[in-house]
Amino acid sequence: MIETVDSQFKEIVSSMPGGVNLNLCYACGACTAVCPVSRIAEEFNPRKIIRMVLLGLKDEVLSGHEIWLCYQCHACMTRCPQDVRFTEIIKALRRLAVAEGYATQDFADKVEDVDAFSKILRKELVKGLYDGDLDEAKAAMIERIKDV
């Protein structure tokens, strides 16, 4: 498939909060190599997302599931030598996806629920492990997962 390059998309994203240094990316890959999500999901590639934004592949970026995979851990931002704020850019892309109808507000809210739950999940399991009642903790979490 041959696509054309368009710069409007990057102008929109770079004008949003956190998008300020988007253009500075020189594609070194430091963000992707440090990303904990990239290690478990090969399709999640922060550098590639930035490239796609820079080259104007708007439909693909906003309609795909990749932008919702980010943990928001900020590891990429600690390593970027050009101070590109990928975590912030992901937030901007999610807002755009909702605003332009690529995703529903309900979907975005649910992703937040998942984020909140996964944090609780981790906390409870670690605590269970520490207290020696991991099975109990697991069972409690299986009950709660039904609500998400």
């Binding site: 041959i2 696509e3 890959g29 190599a33 590639n45 590639k48 796609m52 390593r79």
Partner: protein, 1009 residues
């Protein structure tokens, strides 16, 4: 004698500037903060792209500084303050207490042996230890000890230990515990700053673990680890002692990094990392993995691209990725690197050792000095340099060269240093200074009736030679050779103390021939000849044997055979020395004007520089107007207008009473030799003969004409230079348009396997210019590797910030360019985007090609024939030495600058042109030309005037005299190559210093003994 100049910093920049000034007859105070001159170059192992030993090429220049009567070295001294103004400065210099009487100390090192206090050795980057009383390095100059008062037990009054051991053992009573820092005032006319750089503190990138992971080292530490004179004697080891099998080099540590406020590129790291990898392979044959992690490989200098290609062929693994972090295995201390490939796969590769290619940063003490002295620095602390005045600072009369003004390699540093000397000379030449007594002439000893008494000195060169050759055995062997009166083995024959020792032995043993078995006569012969001269012996009674290149280097795997060969070579040299005769040098008159060939930016700059120093210049340009390429350009990267600058420069050239401009003129013949050239110039119907003493070749190069991407077939396709013209005259054409630029058009490909250096910066500069005019212009730059080296990186950053897109392409999958089917005014550019893994298309209004810079091969070949100077395989002129002689040819009296040498940016052209002027002036400043003694000599009774020698001589140095009917040698032209002697059938021509008796004696020694 003119007013002195102060040079601050005794690295290669300061050394070069000092030597140039001294050669021009100007006294120099060379001030160095360390106990020895030498600077960073003394710490490096080898230099790229020739892999020369760094110290080996530097040491002769250091010695020349020490030996020059016009250079006064103030080592272990710092500049405190500059008072006054250009032409009339008072420099306040603090001579730090070194607690040693410099006059009394003879560098015997006995104090070093007895000192009980060990200290981390800064010169070896703290990898091993030295004593509190120390000498910076083996070949240090001055060869005098210093006491580090931070650690000395006596000076720190340790109550339990009444030390004073060094004072007790010193045979010269040179220790002075009572010495204190002392301020001295130097009256100088100009000041050259050449203070160099620090390396980036790798601790500031904690993700790489430097400082906590013991096997992560910096590149400067690795240079010392590789060095034969380093802490491991040249055996590459990890700091924990294990020999590494897998080494990774990480680029851009502290460069191109906004996180640590180092946005610029450090210019040299890509090449030094490649060199370190290549040399490592020579050290450890069985190495499994040498990987360089990089973002853009910046092999932009002369012959660098070939080095890069060779490194790839040698199996160096190049990984395009920035390593995000390093993890250490706490048991094995091996290291795991996290990186990502272009397909997005995260890799976790393991290595035994990691070398961080740390960037170059300004020295904080120098930044402070500049603030005190009113010299402007940039936001990083580099001394501010203007594109059109790269060597001047904001304070008049204070000049700057080397990395002090921004990251750069050694050749650029050297020509800037020469350029600084040139500008300083203009300032001080008419100012009266103190009389400096000439060195006393040592009367030559008449050895006519003496039987040969030969001294042999065999050099260890640290482990360079002794690591392979059994030097002691070779020396022992020499003792039994006929007429050998004295033999010794020395650690470094070139060290100042050893030179003194050789002189002492000449006296003590009444030697009248000296043989040194060490390294190459190309760099070191003059040094030893000087020792003989000062000892009252004719310098041609010296014979040198190269047991380093010819034994230890080439036979490193066969130590026994190498030792036998060294003995053979020494035996031959002794046999030759037996027949050595004193030879006489001639003194010839010379002309004090210069010919500059080429009237572009380079030629005009060097012509004006020479004229301002008071020399007459002929400036010959083949075009009807002066200006060359610079006339076609719009602005420099920093936005300076070329038109305005070139107008002013042209006016100054035409107005200068010492410059004669000949436009529409062609060189048709060059005769003569250094000091006495006669050049024939055709100008229209006229033929003009010019007499001059030196020649500067500044013929430039051109933007090539592309043969791809629809160039010449579609009006919307143009080169960068054409774009600059369009921007200047029809900028509105580009408003709101879609523009694509393609880099490396015709560069880095088989027909031109070199990088054209200027195109990345030029493309970025033009893109910025367009974007600033109209932000709605969309620009995409397709590149193979962005090589915006040094401070140019800031323009690459600016272009990205302004929204210019950069997409990488591979040379075997180049962009495809077609005319749009629907709108024939437009051009479709299709290219593969690696990171998202698909082909993209742009419908462009303009396609700009960054065409290669190419030499005019035909005209350069013709000129090289006339001048008898070489051109390289790419058609550019070939300098005498890539690193240390970047503006001169091997042939005396002929210099080069600008793009005739290699593609380069305007600021570099200006610096190099000023550098060439300095080197040329060093000849013009002399009263006479002195010829070499080792020249051909004709026995007129045997000569039959057949003329074969005349036809074969490459230097036109021998010709048959039609009246006398014998061949006659021009000693000033003769290079002593020996071709005439070898071809002469009656055996009438002999090369003095290599005559038949000497050569036959050598052969006899080789085969019959």
């Amino acid at each position: 004698m003119s007013k002195p100049v102060m040079v601050l910093g005794g690295g290669i920049a300061g050394i070069q500037a000092s030597l140039d000034l001294a050669e021009m007859g100007i006294p120099v105070y060379l001030v160095e903060s360390q106990p020895s001159i030498g600077g960073r170059m003394a710490q490096l192992d080898k230099t790229f792209p020739t892999n020369d030993c760094s110290t080996c090429i530097l040491a002769p220049k250091m010695s020349s500084c020490a030996n020059h009567p016009l250079i006064k070295i103030y080592s272990y001294s710092e500049l405190k303050d500059i008072r006054g103004r250009a032409g009339d400065f008072t420099a306040v210099v603090t001579k730090k207490a070194r607690y040693v009487d410099e006059e009394a100390c003879n560098g015997c090192r006995q104090c070093l042996d007895v000192c009980p206090q060990y200290v981390d050795d800064d010169f070896n980057m703290g990898i091993d230890q030295r004593k509190a009383v120390y000498m910076l390095f083996q070949q240090g100059i001055p060869n005098v000890a210093a006491i580090d008062d931070r650690f000395c037990r006596f000076l720190n009054r340790d109550k339990n230990d009444k030390c004073g051991r060094c004072a007790r053992i010193c045979p010269r009573k040179a220790i002075r515990y009572g010495q204190r820092d002392k301020d001295i005032e130097l009256e100088v006319g100009a000041i050259i700053l050449a203070t160099g750089y620090d390396t980036f503190a790798a601790e500031l990138k904690p993700e790489y673990g430097y400082g906590s992971y013991r096997n992560v080292v910096t590149s400067m530490e690795y240079e010392r680890i590789m060095s034969a004179s380093g802490p491991y004697g040249g055996h590459i080891k990890r700091p924990d002692g294990k020999e590494p099998k897998r080494i990774a080099f990480l680029q851009c540590v502290g460069s191109r990094d906004a996180k640590c406020d180092r946005e610029y590129c450090s210019s040299v790291c890509c090449m030094y990392a490649m060199k370190e990898a290549v040399i490592t392979r020579e050290h450890i044959k069985s190495i499994d993995d040498l990987s360089i992690y990089y973002m853009d490989m910046r092999a932009f200098g002369k012959d660098f691209e070939r080095y890069y290609e060779n490194a790839k062929k040698q199996g160096i693994n190049f990984v395009r990725s920035r390593v995000t972090e390093i993890a250490e295995d706490s048991d094995t201390h091996d290291l795991k690197l996290y990186a990502v490939d272009e397909q997005g796969r995260v890799s976790e590769d393991e290595f035994d050792m990691v070398v961080l290619s740390v960037g170059l940063v300004p020295r904080p003490d120098v930044v402070e000095l500049c603030q005190r002295a009113g010299i402007k620095t940039d936001r990083y602390g580099f001394v501010h340099a203007d594109d059109m005045a790269p060597i001047q600072t904001t304070r008049e009369g204070v000049l700057a060269c080397g990395v002090l003004t921004g990251p750069k390699d050694i050749p650029e540093t050297v020509y800037e240093a020469s350029g600084a000397a040139s500008l300083a000379a203009q300032l001080v030449k008419d100012l009266p200074g103190p009389e400096i007594p000439k060195p006393e002439e040592v009367p030559m000893r008449d050895i006519g009736r003496e039987r040969p008494r030969i001294g042999v000195f065999v050099c260890h060169c640290g482990t360079n030679i002794a690591g392979v050759v059994d030097v002691k055995a070779a020396a022992e062997y020499a003792k039994a050779l006929p007429c050998v009166e004295y033999v010794d083995d020395t650690m470094y024959a070139c060290a100042a103390d050893t030179q003194g020792f050789i002189a002492d032995m000449i006296k003590e043993h009444d030697l009248n021939r000296v043989v040194v078995a060490s390294c190459t006569p190309r760099t070191h012969e003059p040094l030893f000849q000087d020792v003989l001269r000062k000892s009252g012996l004719n310098p041609y009674l010296f014979t040198m044997v190269n047991i380093r290149d010819q034994c230890s280097w080439v036979h490193m795997d066969y130590p026994e055979e190498a030792t036998e060969k060294a003995k053979d070579l020494i035996r031959m040299a002794v046999a030759k020395a037996y027949y050595a005769q004193p030879l006489q040098q001639q003194v010839l008159p010379k002309d004090s004007s210069a010919l500059v060939i080429g009237g572009g930016l380079a030629g005009m700059t060097s012509a004006l520089s020479l004229a301002k120093q008071g020399y007459k210049v002929y400036l010959v340009e083949k075009e009807p107007v002066l200006g060359g390429n610079a006339r076609l350009m719009n602005t420099s990267a920093r936005g300076r207008s070329f038109e305005q600058y070139m107008d002013e420069l042209t006016e100054s050239v035409y107005d200068h009473p010492y410059i004669t401009v000949l436009t529409s003129a062609h060189i048709s013949a060059v005769e003569g030799y250094v000091g006495n050239f006669i050049t024939t110039v055709r100008k229209g119907p006229d033929t003009i003969k010019l007499n001059h003493g030196v020649i500067i070749v500044a013929v430039g190069a051109n933007e090539s004409m592309p043969d791809e991407y629809l160039y010449g077939q579609h009006p919307a396709v143009m080169t960068q230079l054409k774009l600059e013209r369009q921007i200047k005259h029809h900028v509105d054409d580009f408003k709101g348009k879609r523009i694509v630029m393609i880099q490396c058009v015709g560069s880095r490909e088989p027909q031109r396997p070199y990088c054209s250096r200027v195109c990345c910066t030029q493309a970025v500069k033009n893109a910025i210019c367009l974007k600033e005019m109209d932000p709605t212009i969309q620009i995409t730059i397709l590149y193979r590797e962005m090589r915006t080296y040094g401070m140019n990186e800031l323009y690459y950053e600016k272009a990205r910030r302004l929204g210019v897109d950069f997409v990488r392409y591979d040379v075997d999958d180049k962009p495809r360019v077609t005319v749009d089917e629907d709108d024939s005014n437009k051009i479709n550019v299709e290219f593969y985007e690696h990171l998202i893994g698909r082909t993209l298309k742009i419908k462009a209004d303009y396609l700009i090609l960054s065409a290669a810079i190419e030499a005019d091969r035909e005209s350069n070949a013709e000129l090289s024939q006339m001048l008898k100077v070489p051109i390289n395989q790419d058609g550019f002129f070939l300098e005498a030495h890539m690193k240390l002689r970047p503006v001169e040819f091997a042939t005396d009296g002929i210099f080069l600058c600008g793009m005739a040498h290699a593609p380069k940016n305007a600021d570099e052209v200006i610096a190099q042109a000023q550098g060439a002027a300095a080197r040329a002036a060093s000849i013009l400043a002399k009263e006479y030309i002195t010829t070499d003694g080792m020249v051909a000599k004709v026995n007129r009774f045997l000569c039959v005037a057949c003329g074969i020698c005349e036809s074969i001589c490459p230097y036109k140095a021998i010709a048959v005299d039609p009246q006398l009917h014998v061949a006659v040698v021009n000693a000033a032209l003769c290079k002593g190559c020996g071709l005439c002697s070898a071809t002469c059938r009656p055996g009438a021509v002999d090369l003095q210093g290599f005559d038949d008796s000497e050569i036959l004696a050598q052969l006899d020694a080789l085969y019959s003994w």
